[in-house]
């Protein structure tokens, strides 16, 4: 945990040491003493691989899962005795869970009906929300006739309708195809900022999280591994786990001495102010520069993959682990060629080994 979760102002949502265990008492907990705070109007994305406990986190906040220890506070009030339907939070399920026997309007208006809103208000809100999510006039359509993307929009409208103080999204775009996902993630961000909604979303897709979130929380095995803005997390992954989860594989054993570190790849420059001593080092692919074979560290090109905007290279040095590099299409070497590489200090990150 790098960013301390100090709570000077009152937070909308606050989790204090929440622990959840499934199965036998000795088993690894699904959530382990999780502390998390979400301020009003903030969009927080919880990012992690499947099984890291992120869905459980949402279920605890919604009251669908009881915490074995710790507290959930909404607007400063402990929620342990409050049943799900009185918490005033919204949850958009991974596979939407639209009510199959109701039409689109019936689904969107459900939460309003539970609040006892008048019929006229219900209709007005439904119309507004369907416009907002880009499905104007879909009120009478059957849920079964909707495409995946349309279902997702209806689910969003349904979750927004009762004006929840906190909206939670469980893998909101998980089942959609790539193009749709990229379009919807932008729309979601627009809708939330327009409405000033407080959002807690979980996803395993970093692109989704970075595009949507004000703040990203990376989870590992039921614990929080790192929190920070998307840029901070991307530029300074705190641990080897976070680095590898973000897709960075150039991680190596190193000993820092002054302005450089000794690694199996030779000397690698490190950012100024790095403490001397042994550590793990990450070099982001952008920080691997190709030079001629005589200069720098000589490597054989083991594989090259065309990635649209660039070419990803897998390089095999004489010693040490393989290295990933990115380069432009024009000057990309062929497989089997020998090249030399140098490292750029601004793309080198010293990782926190303790939690790695």
């Amino acid at each position: 945990m790098t960013a301390p979760t100090t709570t000077t102002a009152q937070q909308l949502l606050q989790l204090d040491g929440v622990t959840v265990r499934f199965g036998k008492p000795g088993a690894r907990p699904a959530l382990h003493a999780v502390d998390l705070a979400v301020a009003a109007r903030e969009i927080v994305c919880v990012l992690g691989p499947s099984g890291s406990g992120k869905s459980t986190l949402l279920r605890v906040v919604a009251g669908l899962q009881q915490a074995d220890a710790g507290q959930v506070l909404l607007e400063g009030r402990d929620q342990s005795a409050v049943p799900t339907h009185r918490r005033g939070v919204g949850l958009m399920f991974q596979d939407h869970q639209l009510f199959p026997q109701r039409d689109v309007a019936g689904n969107v208006a459900f939460g309003l009906r539970m609040l006892g809103t008048s019929r006229g208000d219900q209709e007005r809100t439904v119309t507004e929300l369907l416009d907002l999510v880009g499905l104007p006039g879909a009120q009478r359509r059957a849920v079964a006739s909707l495409s995946g993307g349309e279902q997702q929009r209806v689910a969003l409208a349904r979750a927004l309708a009762p004006r929840p103080r906190l909206l939670m999204l469980d893998e909101p775009l998980g089942q959609l195809d790539r193009g749709l996902r990229e379009r919807l993630v932008v729309e979601l961000g627009r809708v939330f900022r327009e409405l000033g909604t407080t959002v807690l979303a979980v996803t395993h897709d970093q692109g989704e999280a970075f595009a949507l979130a004000d703040r990203v929380v990376v989870m590992q095995d039921g614990r929080i591994a790192q929190t920070g803005t998307p840029l901070e997390v991307w530029q300074r992954p705190a641990t080897e786990f976070v680095a590898r989860f973000l897709g960075f594989d150039n991680v190596v054993e190193a000993t820092v001495q002054g302005e450089a570190a000794l690694t199996p790849w030779g000397k690698v420059p490190v950012p100024g102010g790095t403490v001397d001593g042994p550590c793990r080092l990450l070099v982001r692919p952008a920080g691997v520069r190709l030079t001629s074979a005589r200069e720098g560290l000589p490597c054989t090109v083991a594989a090259r993959t065309f990635r649209g905007t660039h070419v990803a290279l897998l390089l095999r040095p004489k010693s040490g682990p393989q290295i990933e590099a990115a380069c432009a299409l024009q000057n990309a070497p062929e497989t089997g060629e020998t090249v030399g590489i140098a490292f750029a200090a601004q793309d080198v990150v010293v990782l926190d080994t303790a939690a790695g």
Binding site: L64, P83, H85, V89, Q97, F99, Q101, F110
Partner: protein, 553 residues
Amino acid sequence: MRLGLMAVPLAFFALLFAYPVTAIVGRGLKEGGHWQLGRFTAVLADPDVLHVLWFTVWQAAASTALTLLIALPGAYVFARFDFPGKRLLRAVVTVPFVLPTVVVGSAFLALVGRGGPLDALWGVRLDTSVWAILMAHVFFNYAVVVRTVGGLWGQLDPRQEEAARVLGAGRFAAWRKVTLPALGPAVAAAALMVFLFTFTSFGIVQILGGPTFSTLEVEIYRQTADYLDLPTAAVLTLLQFLAVLVLLALHAWTVRRREAALRLVDASSTARRPCGPGQWALLWGTLAVIAVLLVAPLLVLAERSFAGPDGYGALFYTSLSSAASADSTFAVAPLDALWNSLSYAAAATAIALVVGGLAAAALTLPYSRHRSGESLRAGRLVRGFDALLMLPLGVSAVTVGFGFLITLDKPPLDLRSSWWLVPLAQALVGVPFVVRTMLPVLRAVDGRLREAAAVLGASPWRVWREVDLPMVRRALLIAAGFAFAVSLGEFGATVFIARPDRPTLPVAVARLLGRAGELNYGQAMAMSTILMVVCAGALLALERIRTDQSGEF
């Protein structure tokens, strides 16, 4: 919450099932406050009892084998073929199952007995042979196999077999390696159900068995009602109880295995028009079996009810409405029995729906809010409760009926002269059907739909009303139909507790059959026909709203 829902069904079973059954067993086996367990050995050493026991087991085994042999091709036809009139035929096939055993007995009596078509054409009478009993059992249970096995078969993804074919398996090998293992537990469950029903067969054997053949249940009735030998009846009851416990445990085990991860698809997408001479022959063969075995007895029954002494006419029907003709068999006009039956069955259905509905709801309550240790224990508790609900299907109805008579006759529960005594006993048999019909549907409701409703602000009661009820409404209607039909046809318990001046239709039919004379016989056929029409009508109405998935029956 779960315990709250369970309370009503538990109290119902404790008071109306466990208490009467233990009381009557106690009365039979206790003398001067001491258990007389020596009676077990005495009764079990009796060659007559051993004979009954042996007959009960082998006829049940033979009936089960015969039913599987005849009904499994039918299950395939219903699962995989698409042909005009399939829905109607599926309903027709189910009619026998909801028919009162007394009607089935009289239908086969009409078909293979004195003056039946076989007798008239070739002089063959089977009504005193074991074949009549076996055929009646196949008739009765054909639907159990077609429904349980065919229902699953239709939902098995044919592409699994295709995958095996592509990997090099022949047509038969693919079926044997892929479909058969998936189907196995369903076949086993259906076979156990048929075995259970035929093991405890009462009405059919009572009517078709004559003095020669008797099952445990018939023997319990004879010992209780004819010889007043309670000790022997008690031992036999316990014996049957133990056998049924074993069968139910096996059934629960196979059902659990059946629920294990199978990939199911919509049944309507797997059926095709038959192609090739082999498939057409199978379809026509199945239709012929249904015509001869299932439809013919019912038609003959109707025919005999109109065949008066002076040619065809409605004589037997008209005579039903006058008490005078009933030469003291009844204190009232036999037709009144129809009204009695309908009102008793309606009351029993209402009770069964409430008790069974609560039980099914308790069984499907999610565990998610509980902690780990609790949910393990809760799981075991629920399974025990589940099994308990099935018991009335197998425990001697005769014992239950007689137990009612001797236990519910003193304050605080003096129901002896109450009108409710009969519906309560009938509801006991209806509850398992309600639970079995509701459970699969309730379990199929995605728990996260309920969660979605709760997050949107619905209280638990609102969740049930908004999410569960719309989905189970059809199942509820079907459960009601089954409970109604089963209550209407209940015979073993009702025969004891129905007051002489308020007989139900099955009781009236049995009384009429028990007396000599053309008129009595004809009247029995006429009343059976009425009962058949009522049951079939109820079922055909239900079939219109039925989905393939709902229920295990």
